[in-house]
Protein backbone atom coordinates (compact mmCIF):
# COMPACT_ATOMS: atom_id res chain seq x y z
CA UNK A 1 0.00 0.00 0.00
CA UNK A 2 1.28 3.46 -0.89
CA UNK A 3 1.75 6.09 1.81
CA UNK A 4 -1.17 8.53 1.96
CA UNK A 5 -0.54 12.13 0.92
CA UNK A 6 -1.63 13.47 4.29
CA UNK A 7 -2.16 11.77 7.61
CA UNK A 8 -3.33 13.68 10.66
CA UNK A 9 -3.33 11.76 13.92
CA UNK A 10 -4.82 12.81 17.23
CA UNK A 11 -4.28 16.50 16.51
CA UNK A 12 -5.08 18.79 19.44
CA UNK A 13 -4.88 22.59 19.31
CA UNK A 14 -5.63 24.77 22.32
CA UNK A 15 -6.05 28.52 22.79
CA UNK A 16 -6.21 30.61 25.92
CA UNK A 17 -5.04 29.90 29.47
CA UNK A 18 -3.14 26.68 30.19
CA UNK A 19 -5.35 25.69 33.11
CA UNK A 20 -8.63 26.32 31.24
CA UNK A 21 -7.89 26.06 27.52
CA UNK A 22 -10.32 26.45 24.63
CA UNK A 23 -9.97 23.16 22.79
CA UNK A 24 -10.35 24.45 19.22
CA UNK A 25 -9.24 21.09 17.83
CA UNK A 26 -9.73 18.19 20.19
CA UNK A 27 -7.86 15.08 19.07
CA UNK A 28 -8.85 14.63 15.44
CA UNK A 29 -7.51 12.08 12.95
CA UNK A 30 -8.03 11.90 9.19
CA UNK A 31 -6.12 11.19 6.00
CA UNK A 32 -6.08 12.14 2.34
CA UNK A 33 -4.85 10.19 -0.68
CA UNK A 34 -3.12 11.89 -3.61
CA UNK A 35 -5.70 13.47 -5.93
CA UNK A 36 -8.52 13.01 -3.46
CA UNK A 37 -11.07 15.71 -2.61
CA UNK A 38 -12.15 15.97 1.00
CA UNK A 39 -14.80 18.38 2.27
CA UNK A 40 -14.47 19.47 5.89
CA UNK A 41 -17.93 20.71 6.88
CA UNK A 42 -18.78 22.55 10.06
CA UNK A 43 -19.99 25.83 11.48
CA UNK A 44 -17.96 28.86 12.50
CA UNK A 45 -15.88 27.92 15.50
CA UNK A 46 -15.91 24.17 14.84
CA UNK A 47 -12.13 24.15 14.32
CA UNK A 48 -12.05 23.48 10.59
CA UNK A 49 -9.96 26.52 9.61
CA UNK A 50 -7.61 26.05 12.56
CA UNK A 51 -7.01 22.48 11.37
CA UNK A 52 -6.27 23.70 7.84
CA UNK A 53 -3.83 26.36 9.02
CA UNK A 54 -2.06 23.89 11.31
CA UNK A 55 -1.09 21.71 8.33
CA UNK A 56 1.73 24.11 7.44
CA UNK A 57 2.04 25.65 10.93
CA UNK A 58 0.47 28.93 9.84
CA UNK A 59 -1.16 29.45 13.24
CA UNK A 60 0.41 32.20 15.31
CA UNK A 61 1.81 30.67 18.45
CA UNK A 62 1.01 32.08 20.97
CA UNK A 63 -1.98 32.16 21.23
CA UNK A 64 -2.35 28.76 19.52
CA UNK A 65 -0.71 25.70 21.06
CA UNK A 66 -0.45 22.38 19.27
CA UNK A 67 -0.72 20.09 22.29
CA UNK A 68 -0.85 16.67 20.72
CA UNK A 69 -0.66 14.67 17.54
CA UNK A 70 1.23 14.30 14.29
CA UNK A 71 0.68 15.80 10.83
CA UNK A 72 2.41 13.66 8.22
CA UNK A 73 2.66 15.05 4.73
CA UNK A 74 4.20 12.61 2.23
CA UNK A 75 5.68 10.69 5.10
CA UNK A 76 7.36 13.51 7.06
CA UNK A 77 5.96 15.14 10.20
CA UNK A 78 5.37 18.84 9.49
CA UNK A 79 5.29 19.58 13.20
CA UNK A 80 9.01 18.73 13.35
CA UNK A 81 10.12 20.72 10.30
CA UNK A 82 12.47 23.69 10.57
CA UNK A 83 11.31 27.15 9.47
CA UNK A 84 13.19 26.89 6.15
CA UNK A 85 11.73 23.45 5.46
CA UNK A 86 8.28 24.88 6.20
CA UNK A 87 8.91 27.67 3.68
CA UNK A 88 9.49 25.03 1.03
CA UNK A 89 6.32 23.23 2.04
CA UNK A 90 4.04 26.27 2.08
CA UNK A 91 2.80 27.17 -1.37
CA UNK A 92 4.97 24.61 -3.13
CA UNK A 93 3.44 21.45 -1.61
CA UNK A 94 0.38 22.76 0.19
CA UNK A 95 -1.28 25.91 -1.21
CA UNK A 96 -4.20 27.85 0.22
CA UNK A 97 -7.02 29.98 -1.04
CA UNK A 98 -9.06 31.91 1.49
CA UNK A 99 -12.51 33.36 1.94
CA UNK A 100 -11.93 36.97 1.05
CA UNK A 101 -9.84 37.19 -2.11
CA UNK A 102 -9.87 40.99 -1.77
CA UNK A 103 -7.85 40.88 1.42
CA UNK A 104 -5.60 37.98 0.37
CA UNK A 105 -4.13 39.88 -2.59
CA UNK A 106 -1.70 42.73 -2.04
CA UNK A 107 -3.43 45.89 -3.29
CA UNK A 108 -0.24 47.73 -4.33
CA UNK A 109 1.17 45.09 -6.71
CA UNK A 110 -0.20 43.92 -10.05
CA UNK A 111 -1.59 40.40 -10.23
CA UNK A 112 1.16 39.46 -12.70
CA UNK A 113 3.80 40.54 -10.19
CA UNK A 114 2.22 38.57 -7.37
CA UNK A 115 1.96 35.34 -9.35
CA UNK A 116 5.53 35.85 -10.64
CA UNK A 117 6.78 36.14 -7.06
CA UNK A 118 5.26 32.76 -6.19
CA UNK A 119 6.69 31.02 -9.26
CA UNK A 120 10.18 32.47 -8.86
CA UNK A 121 10.28 31.42 -5.22
CA UNK A 122 8.97 27.88 -5.59
CA UNK A 123 9.93 26.91 -9.14
CA UNK A 124 13.32 28.51 -9.88
CA UNK A 125 13.77 26.05 -12.77
CA UNK A 126 11.11 27.82 -14.87
CA UNK A 127 12.76 29.91 -17.64
CA UNK A 128 9.82 31.76 -19.13
CA UNK A 129 7.94 32.90 -16.05
CA UNK A 130 5.60 35.21 -17.97
CA UNK A 131 4.39 32.32 -20.14
CA UNK A 132 3.81 30.32 -16.96
CA UNK A 133 1.74 33.13 -15.41
CA UNK A 134 -0.35 33.41 -18.57
CA UNK A 135 -0.89 29.65 -18.59
CA UNK A 136 -2.03 29.72 -14.95
CA UNK A 137 -4.47 32.58 -15.57
CA UNK A 138 -5.78 30.79 -18.64
CA UNK A 139 -6.37 27.59 -16.64
CA UNK A 140 -8.64 29.43 -14.21
CA UNK A 141 -10.73 30.87 -17.02
CA UNK A 142 -9.48 34.43 -17.20
CA UNK A 143 -9.96 35.61 -20.78
CA UNK A 144 -7.07 37.28 -22.62
CA UNK A 145 -4.71 36.67 -19.68
CA UNK A 146 -1.77 38.47 -21.33
CA UNK A 147 -3.74 41.73 -21.09
CA UNK A 148 -4.60 41.27 -17.41
CA UNK A 149 -1.03 40.86 -16.08
CA UNK A 150 -0.73 44.55 -15.29
CA UNK A 151 -4.12 44.81 -13.57
CA UNK A 152 -4.25 45.67 -9.90
CA UNK A 153 -6.54 43.63 -7.63
CA UNK A 154 -9.07 46.47 -7.26
CA UNK A 155 -9.65 46.42 -11.02
CA UNK A 156 -11.07 42.89 -10.74
CA UNK A 157 -14.40 41.70 -9.34
CA UNK A 158 -14.55 39.36 -6.33
CA UNK A 159 -14.99 36.30 -8.54
CA UNK A 160 -12.03 37.29 -10.73
CA UNK A 161 -9.88 37.96 -7.66
CA UNK A 162 -10.64 34.46 -6.41
CA UNK A 163 -9.63 33.08 -9.83
CA UNK A 164 -6.33 34.95 -9.51
CA UNK A 165 -5.78 33.42 -6.06
CA UNK A 166 -6.42 29.96 -7.50
CA UNK A 167 -4.07 30.71 -10.43
CA UNK A 168 -1.36 31.73 -7.98
CA UNK A 169 -1.85 28.52 -6.01
CA UNK A 170 -1.80 26.38 -9.17
CA UNK A 171 1.29 28.08 -10.60
CA UNK A 172 3.39 26.33 -7.95
CA UNK A 173 1.90 22.93 -8.82
CA UNK A 174 1.06 21.98 -5.23
CA UNK A 175 0.16 18.44 -4.20
CA UNK A 176 -2.64 19.71 -1.96
CA UNK A 177 -4.88 22.75 -2.38
CA UNK A 178 -6.67 23.89 0.77
CA UNK A 179 -9.73 25.96 -0.18
CA UNK A 180 -10.96 27.62 3.03
CA UNK A 181 -14.52 28.85 2.38
CA UNK A 182 -13.51 30.02 -1.12
CA UNK A 183 -17.00 31.14 -2.13
CA UNK A 184 -18.55 32.46 1.09
CA UNK A 185 -18.04 36.12 0.21
CA UNK A 186 -19.37 35.66 -3.33
CA UNK A 187 -22.79 35.74 -5.01
CA UNK A 188 -24.37 32.34 -5.68
CA UNK A 189 -23.85 32.72 -9.42
CA UNK A 190 -20.12 33.43 -8.94
CA UNK A 191 -19.98 30.67 -6.33
CA UNK A 192 -21.18 28.25 -8.99
CA UNK A 193 -18.46 29.43 -11.40
CA UNK A 194 -15.71 28.96 -8.80
CA UNK A 195 -17.04 25.53 -7.79
CA UNK A 196 -17.23 24.53 -11.47
CA UNK A 197 -13.60 25.63 -11.84
CA UNK A 198 -12.51 23.56 -8.82
CA UNK A 199 -14.41 20.56 -10.26
CA UNK A 200 -12.59 21.03 -13.55
CA UNK A 201 -9.22 21.13 -11.74
CA UNK A 202 -10.14 18.00 -9.85
CA UNK A 203 -10.86 16.25 -13.16
CA UNK A 204 -7.78 17.41 -15.04
CA UNK A 205 -5.03 17.43 -12.40
CA UNK A 206 -3.75 15.05 -9.79
CA UNK A 207 -3.92 17.68 -7.07
CA UNK A 208 -5.74 16.80 -3.85
CA UNK A 209 -8.27 19.41 -2.71
CA UNK A 210 -9.47 20.03 0.84
CA UNK A 211 -12.65 22.12 0.70
CA UNK A 212 -13.60 23.80 3.96
CA UNK A 213 -17.20 24.95 4.08
CA UNK A 214 -20.22 25.52 6.31
CA UNK A 215 -22.62 24.70 3.48
CA UNK A 216 -23.49 21.07 2.79
CA UNK A 217 -25.02 22.26 -0.50
CA UNK A 218 -21.52 22.63 -1.98
CA UNK A 219 -20.16 19.17 -1.29
CA UNK A 220 -22.62 16.86 -3.04
CA UNK A 221 -21.14 16.80 -6.52
CA UNK A 222 -17.63 17.82 -5.56
CA UNK A 223 -16.04 15.92 -2.70
CA UNK A 224 -15.10 12.23 -2.67
CA UNK A 225 -15.32 12.17 1.10
CA UNK A 226 -16.75 14.37 3.84
CA UNK A 227 -15.56 14.97 7.41
CA UNK A 228 -18.07 16.75 9.65
CA UNK A 229 -16.57 18.86 12.46
CA UNK A 230 -18.42 19.93 15.57
CA UNK A 231 -16.81 21.66 18.57
CA UNK A 232 -13.29 20.62 17.66
CA UNK A 233 -14.07 16.99 16.91
CA UNK A 234 -14.77 15.05 13.74
CA UNK A 235 -18.19 13.59 14.50
CA UNK A 236 -18.67 11.74 11.23
CA UNK A 237 -16.64 10.89 8.16
CA UNK A 238 -17.27 8.84 5.06
CA UNK A 239 -17.98 8.85 1.32
CA UNK A 240 -20.02 11.94 0.34
CA UNK A 241 -22.99 10.14 -1.19
CA UNK A 242 -23.33 7.87 1.82
CA UNK A 243 -23.20 10.72 4.35
CA UNK A 244 -25.76 12.74 2.41
CA UNK A 245 -28.08 9.78 1.97
CA UNK A 246 -27.73 8.29 5.41
CA UNK A 247 -26.17 10.61 7.98
CA UNK A 248 -25.45 8.82 11.26
CA UNK A 249 -24.77 11.70 13.60
CA UNK A 250 -27.57 14.06 14.71
CA UNK A 251 -25.38 17.08 13.99
CA UNK A 252 -24.68 15.97 10.42
CA UNK A 253 -28.39 15.49 9.83
CA UNK A 254 -29.18 18.96 11.25
CA UNK A 255 -26.48 20.60 9.15
CA UNK A 256 -27.89 19.00 5.99
CA UNK A 257 -31.47 19.92 6.91
CA UNK A 258 -30.83 23.62 7.52
CA UNK A 259 -29.85 24.28 3.88
CA UNK A 260 -32.89 25.91 2.21
CA UNK A 261 -34.09 23.81 -0.71
CA UNK A 262 -35.72 25.21 -3.82
CA UNK A 263 -39.31 24.20 -4.46
CA UNK A 264 -39.86 22.69 -1.02
CA UNK A 265 -41.52 25.55 0.74
CA UNK A 266 -41.60 24.93 4.48
CA UNK A 267 -43.37 26.97 7.12
CA UNK A 268 -40.03 27.59 8.86
CA UNK A 269 -36.49 26.48 8.05
CA UNK A 270 -35.04 23.67 10.15
CA UNK A 271 -32.56 24.89 12.75
CA UNK A 272 -29.95 22.96 14.69
CA UNK A 273 -31.13 21.78 18.09
CA UNK A 274 -27.83 21.94 19.95
CA UNK A 275 -29.34 20.72 23.21
CA UNK A 276 -30.55 17.56 21.47
CA UNK A 277 -27.09 16.76 20.05
CA UNK A 278 -25.08 16.43 23.24
Amino acid sequence: MSTPLLRVENLGIHFGPLNDPVKAVDGISFGMEAGETLAVVGESGSGKSVTALALTRLLASPPARIVSGRIEFEGSDTLLLSESELQALRGKQIAYIFQEPGSSLNPVFTIGYQIREAIELHRPEVDDVTAEIIRALDTVGIREPAKRLDDYPHQLSGGMQQRVMIAMALACQPRLLVADEPTTALDVTIQKQIMDLLKELKRTSNMAIMLITHNFGLVSDFADRVAVMFRGRIVETGPTAEILRNPQHAYTRALIDCVPKLGQKQHRLKVIDYAGID
Binding site: E43, S44, G45, S157, G158, D187, V188, T189, I190, Q191, K192, H214, N215, F216, G217, L218, S220, D221, L244, A254, L255, I256, C258, V259, P260, K261, L262, G263, K265, Q266, R268, L269, K270, V271, I272
Partner: protein, 270 residues
Protein backbone atom coordinates in the same frame (compact mmCIF):
# COMPACT_ATOMS: atom_id res chain seq x y z
CA UNK B 1 -46.57 46.44 -12.56
CA UNK B 2 -46.84 43.05 -10.88
CA UNK B 3 -50.26 42.09 -9.64
CA UNK B 4 -50.64 41.46 -5.97
CA UNK B 5 -51.36 37.93 -4.86
CA UNK B 6 -54.16 38.85 -2.55
CA UNK B 7 -56.25 41.59 -4.18
CA UNK B 8 -57.94 42.45 -0.87
CA UNK B 9 -54.72 43.61 0.81
CA UNK B 10 -53.66 47.20 0.32
CA UNK B 11 -50.29 48.25 -1.07
CA UNK B 12 -48.21 49.76 1.72
CA UNK B 13 -45.33 50.73 -0.54
CA UNK B 14 -45.57 51.62 -4.19
CA UNK B 15 -42.53 52.30 -6.35
CA UNK B 16 -43.31 53.91 -9.69
CA UNK B 17 -40.88 54.22 -12.61
CA UNK B 18 -37.94 54.61 -10.23
CA UNK B 19 -34.64 55.60 -11.82
CA UNK B 20 -31.37 56.07 -9.98
CA UNK B 21 -28.46 57.14 -12.16
CA UNK B 22 -24.97 57.78 -10.83
CA UNK B 23 -22.77 60.21 -12.77
CA UNK B 24 -19.37 59.11 -14.10
CA UNK B 25 -16.99 62.03 -13.69
CA UNK B 26 -13.96 62.57 -15.88
CA UNK B 27 -11.53 65.11 -17.29
CA UNK B 28 -9.54 67.69 -15.34
CA UNK B 29 -12.66 69.50 -14.14
CA UNK B 30 -14.42 66.29 -13.12
CA UNK B 31 -17.40 67.00 -15.33
CA UNK B 32 -19.99 64.38 -16.08
CA UNK B 33 -18.88 62.14 -18.94
CA UNK B 34 -21.53 59.46 -18.59
CA UNK B 35 -23.81 57.74 -16.14
CA UNK B 36 -24.40 54.35 -14.56
CA UNK B 37 -28.05 53.36 -14.67
CA UNK B 38 -28.13 51.53 -11.35
CA UNK B 39 -31.93 51.42 -11.27
CA UNK B 40 -33.61 51.94 -14.61
CA UNK B 41 -37.38 52.35 -14.63
CA UNK B 42 -38.48 49.99 -11.91
CA UNK B 43 -42.07 49.71 -10.64
CA UNK B 44 -43.53 47.39 -8.00
CA UNK B 45 -45.80 47.31 -4.98
CA UNK B 46 -45.47 45.72 -1.56
CA UNK B 47 -48.70 44.84 0.24
CA UNK B 48 -49.17 45.22 3.96
CA UNK B 49 -48.04 42.18 5.94
CA UNK B 50 -46.36 40.55 2.95
CA UNK B 51 -42.77 39.87 2.00
CA UNK B 52 -41.52 40.84 -1.42
CA UNK B 53 -38.18 39.30 -2.35
CA UNK B 54 -35.76 41.24 -4.54
CA UNK B 55 -33.11 38.99 -6.01
CA UNK B 56 -30.17 39.61 -8.33
CA UNK B 57 -26.38 39.59 -8.50
CA UNK B 58 -23.99 42.19 -7.12
CA UNK B 59 -24.39 45.33 -9.20
CA UNK B 60 -27.93 44.55 -10.33
CA UNK B 61 -29.26 47.60 -8.47
CA UNK B 62 -31.22 45.78 -5.78
CA UNK B 63 -29.56 47.50 -2.80
CA UNK B 64 -29.89 50.89 -4.51
CA UNK B 65 -33.67 50.42 -4.51
CA UNK B 66 -33.59 49.70 -0.78
CA UNK B 67 -31.44 52.77 -0.18
CA UNK B 68 -33.74 54.95 -2.31
CA UNK B 69 -36.75 53.87 -0.22
CA UNK B 70 -35.14 55.05 3.03
CA UNK B 71 -33.63 58.03 1.18
CA UNK B 72 -29.97 57.21 1.63
CA UNK B 73 -29.84 57.71 -2.15
CA UNK B 74 -31.76 60.36 -4.10
CA UNK B 75 -33.80 59.03 -7.02
CA UNK B 76 -33.06 60.55 -10.44
CA UNK B 77 -36.70 60.13 -11.48
CA UNK B 78 -39.82 58.31 -10.37
CA UNK B 79 -41.93 58.31 -7.23
CA UNK B 80 -42.06 56.18 -4.09
CA UNK B 81 -45.41 56.16 -2.30
CA UNK B 82 -45.86 55.02 1.27
CA UNK B 83 -49.58 54.53 1.75
CA UNK B 84 -50.94 57.51 -0.19
CA UNK B 85 -48.01 59.86 0.40
CA UNK B 86 -45.27 60.41 -2.17
CA UNK B 87 -42.33 60.13 0.24
CA UNK B 88 -39.60 60.51 -2.36
CA UNK B 89 -40.37 64.23 -2.78
CA UNK B 90 -40.76 65.20 0.88
CA UNK B 91 -38.53 67.73 2.63
CA UNK B 92 -36.26 66.21 5.26
CA UNK B 93 -38.47 67.39 8.17
CA UNK B 94 -41.65 66.10 6.54
CA UNK B 95 -39.94 62.75 5.89
CA UNK B 96 -38.89 62.27 9.52
CA UNK B 97 -42.09 60.45 10.64
CA UNK B 98 -41.49 57.95 7.84
CA UNK B 99 -38.00 57.20 9.17
CA UNK B 100 -39.81 55.68 12.11
CA UNK B 101 -42.19 53.66 9.96
CA UNK B 102 -39.50 52.41 7.57
CA UNK B 103 -36.40 50.73 8.98
CA UNK B 104 -33.48 48.83 7.46
CA UNK B 105 -31.35 45.81 8.42
CA UNK B 106 -27.94 45.69 6.77
CA UNK B 107 -25.86 42.85 5.37
CA UNK B 108 -22.67 43.09 7.33
CA UNK B 109 -23.31 42.73 11.04
CA UNK B 110 -19.64 43.53 11.71
CA UNK B 111 -19.58 46.99 10.13
CA UNK B 112 -23.12 48.15 10.82
CA UNK B 113 -22.79 48.37 14.62
CA UNK B 114 -20.68 51.11 16.22
CA UNK B 115 -17.89 49.23 18.08
CA UNK B 116 -17.59 51.94 20.77
CA UNK B 117 -21.20 51.83 21.89
CA UNK B 118 -22.84 49.30 24.20
CA UNK B 119 -25.81 47.30 22.98
CA UNK B 120 -28.09 49.50 25.10
CA UNK B 121 -26.67 52.63 23.44
CA UNK B 122 -26.92 51.16 19.93
CA UNK B 123 -30.56 50.15 20.27
CA UNK B 124 -31.52 53.03 22.58
CA UNK B 125 -30.19 55.70 20.20
CA UNK B 126 -33.23 55.36 17.95
CA UNK B 127 -35.53 55.74 20.96
CA UNK B 128 -33.74 58.91 22.05
CA UNK B 129 -34.34 60.45 18.64
CA UNK B 130 -37.90 59.32 18.00
CA UNK B 131 -39.21 59.29 21.59
CA UNK B 132 -37.38 62.22 23.25
CA UNK B 133 -39.78 62.20 26.20
CA UNK B 134 -38.86 58.65 27.23
CA UNK B 135 -36.86 58.42 30.47
CA UNK B 136 -33.58 56.50 30.63
CA UNK B 137 -35.13 53.85 32.85
CA UNK B 138 -37.99 53.38 30.39
CA UNK B 139 -35.49 53.16 27.54
CA UNK B 140 -33.58 50.41 29.34
CA UNK B 141 -36.84 48.59 29.93
CA UNK B 142 -37.79 48.87 26.25
CA UNK B 143 -34.34 47.72 25.03
CA UNK B 144 -34.47 44.73 27.39
CA UNK B 145 -37.86 43.84 25.96
CA UNK B 146 -36.44 44.09 22.42
CA UNK B 147 -33.43 41.87 23.26
CA UNK B 148 -35.85 39.29 24.57
CA UNK B 149 -37.88 39.49 21.36
CA UNK B 150 -34.86 38.76 19.17
CA UNK B 151 -33.58 35.93 21.37
CA UNK B 152 -30.83 37.72 23.30
CA UNK B 153 -30.46 38.03 27.07
CA UNK B 154 -30.98 40.90 29.52
CA UNK B 155 -27.34 40.76 30.63
CA UNK B 156 -26.22 41.48 27.05
CA UNK B 157 -27.41 45.06 27.54
CA UNK B 158 -24.10 46.59 28.59
CA UNK B 159 -21.80 44.57 26.37
CA UNK B 160 -20.14 45.77 23.19
CA UNK B 161 -20.49 44.43 19.61
CA UNK B 162 -17.11 42.61 19.57
CA UNK B 163 -18.39 40.24 22.26
CA UNK B 164 -21.00 38.80 19.91
CA UNK B 165 -20.97 36.33 17.02
CA UNK B 166 -22.18 37.26 13.52
CA UNK B 167 -25.62 35.79 14.11
CA UNK B 168 -26.02 37.56 17.45
CA UNK B 169 -24.94 40.85 15.87
CA UNK B 170 -27.58 40.42 13.22
CA UNK B 171 -30.12 39.94 16.03
CA UNK B 172 -28.91 43.24 17.53
CA UNK B 173 -29.40 44.90 14.12
CA UNK B 174 -32.95 43.53 14.03
CA UNK B 175 -33.66 44.76 17.58
CA UNK B 176 -32.40 48.23 16.58
CA UNK B 177 -34.74 48.25 13.57
CA UNK B 178 -37.69 47.14 15.75
CA UNK B 179 -37.04 49.73 18.50
CA UNK B 180 -39.24 52.44 16.97
CA UNK B 181 -42.17 50.14 16.12
CA UNK B 182 -41.73 50.22 12.34
CA UNK B 183 -44.29 48.94 9.85
CA UNK B 184 -41.94 48.30 6.95
CA UNK B 185 -38.42 46.85 7.05
CA UNK B 186 -35.94 46.80 4.19
CA UNK B 187 -33.85 43.66 4.79
CA UNK B 188 -30.72 44.27 2.71
CA UNK B 189 -29.00 40.87 2.42
CA UNK B 190 -29.45 40.19 6.15
CA UNK B 191 -28.23 36.58 5.95
CA UNK B 192 -25.62 36.64 3.15
CA UNK B 193 -22.67 36.92 5.53
CA UNK B 194 -23.84 34.13 7.86
CA UNK B 195 -23.30 30.37 8.08
CA UNK B 196 -26.22 28.38 6.64
CA UNK B 197 -27.12 27.13 10.13
CA UNK B 198 -27.26 30.71 11.48
CA UNK B 199 -29.00 31.87 8.32
CA UNK B 200 -31.88 29.49 9.13
CA UNK B 201 -32.19 30.95 12.66
CA UNK B 202 -32.29 34.56 11.43
CA UNK B 203 -34.75 33.82 8.61
CA UNK B 204 -37.04 32.07 11.10
CA UNK B 205 -36.74 35.00 13.53
CA UNK B 206 -37.75 37.44 10.77
CA UNK B 207 -40.75 35.27 9.92
CA UNK B 208 -41.80 34.95 13.60
CA UNK B 209 -41.54 38.72 14.08
CA UNK B 210 -43.56 39.34 10.93
CA UNK B 211 -46.33 37.09 12.20
CA UNK B 212 -46.31 38.63 15.67
CA UNK B 213 -46.02 42.30 14.70
CA UNK B 214 -47.67 42.35 11.27
CA UNK B 215 -44.49 43.65 9.61
CA UNK B 216 -44.02 44.15 5.89
CA UNK B 217 -40.65 43.23 4.35
CA UNK B 218 -38.68 44.01 1.26
CA UNK B 219 -36.16 41.15 1.41
CA UNK B 220 -33.05 41.72 -0.72
CA UNK B 221 -30.72 38.78 -1.43
CA UNK B 222 -28.69 37.02 -4.12
CA UNK B 223 -29.65 33.49 -3.12
CA UNK B 224 -32.92 32.45 -4.74
CA UNK B 225 -33.41 29.52 -2.35
CA UNK B 226 -33.64 31.86 0.65
CA UNK B 227 -35.76 34.39 -1.24
CA UNK B 228 -38.18 31.72 -2.42
CA UNK B 229 -38.55 30.46 1.13
CA UNK B 230 -39.33 33.77 2.82
CA UNK B 231 -41.18 35.69 0.08
CA UNK B 232 -44.77 35.81 -1.08
CA UNK B 233 -43.81 37.58 -4.26
CA UNK B 234 -40.41 37.70 -6.00
CA UNK B 235 -38.81 40.35 -8.22
CA UNK B 236 -35.77 39.31 -10.25
CA UNK B 237 -33.38 42.14 -11.10
CA UNK B 238 -30.64 42.30 -13.68
CA UNK B 239 -28.74 45.40 -14.87
CA UNK B 240 -31.05 47.85 -13.13
CA UNK B 241 -34.28 46.39 -14.48
CA UNK B 242 -36.85 43.95 -13.15
CA UNK B 243 -36.75 41.07 -15.63
CA UNK B 244 -39.32 38.87 -13.94
CA UNK B 245 -41.97 39.33 -11.26
CA UNK B 246 -44.08 36.45 -10.02
CA UNK B 247 -45.21 34.56 -6.93
CA UNK B 248 -42.49 32.57 -5.16
CA UNK B 249 -43.99 29.29 -6.37
CA UNK B 250 -44.24 30.43 -10.00
CA UNK B 251 -40.63 31.65 -10.05
CA UNK B 252 -39.45 28.18 -9.13
CA UNK B 253 -41.96 26.09 -11.06
CA UNK B 254 -42.17 28.11 -14.22
CA UNK B 255 -39.35 30.64 -14.64
CA UNK B 256 -39.93 32.80 -17.71
CA UNK B 257 -36.67 34.67 -18.07
CA UNK B 258 -33.24 33.22 -18.91
CA UNK B 259 -31.68 35.20 -16.09
CA UNK B 260 -34.09 33.69 -13.56
CA UNK B 261 -33.16 30.24 -14.83
CA UNK B 262 -29.48 31.13 -14.42
CA UNK B 263 -30.08 32.15 -10.79
CA UNK B 264 -32.05 28.96 -10.15
CA UNK B 265 -29.29 26.78 -11.56
CA UNK B 266 -26.70 28.50 -9.33
CA UNK B 267 -28.44 27.37 -6.13
CA UNK B 268 -26.43 24.50 -4.59
CA UNK B 269 -28.28 21.21 -4.85
CA UNK B 270 -28.26 18.62 -2.11
Amino acid sequence: MPESIDPSSKPLLRVEELKVYFPILGGIFRHKVGEVKAVDDVSFTVNKGETVGLVGESGSGKSTIGRAIIRLTEPTAGTIYYGDTAISNLQAAAFRPYRKKIQIIFQDPYNSLNPRLSIFEIIGEALEIHYPAMSRADRRERVTELLDKVGLKRDHLDRHPHEFSGGQRQRIGIARALAVNPEFIVCDEPVSALDVSVQAQIVNLLQDLQEELGLTYLFIAHDLAVVEHISDFVLVMNNGKIVEAASAEAIYENPQHDYTRKLLSAVPKL
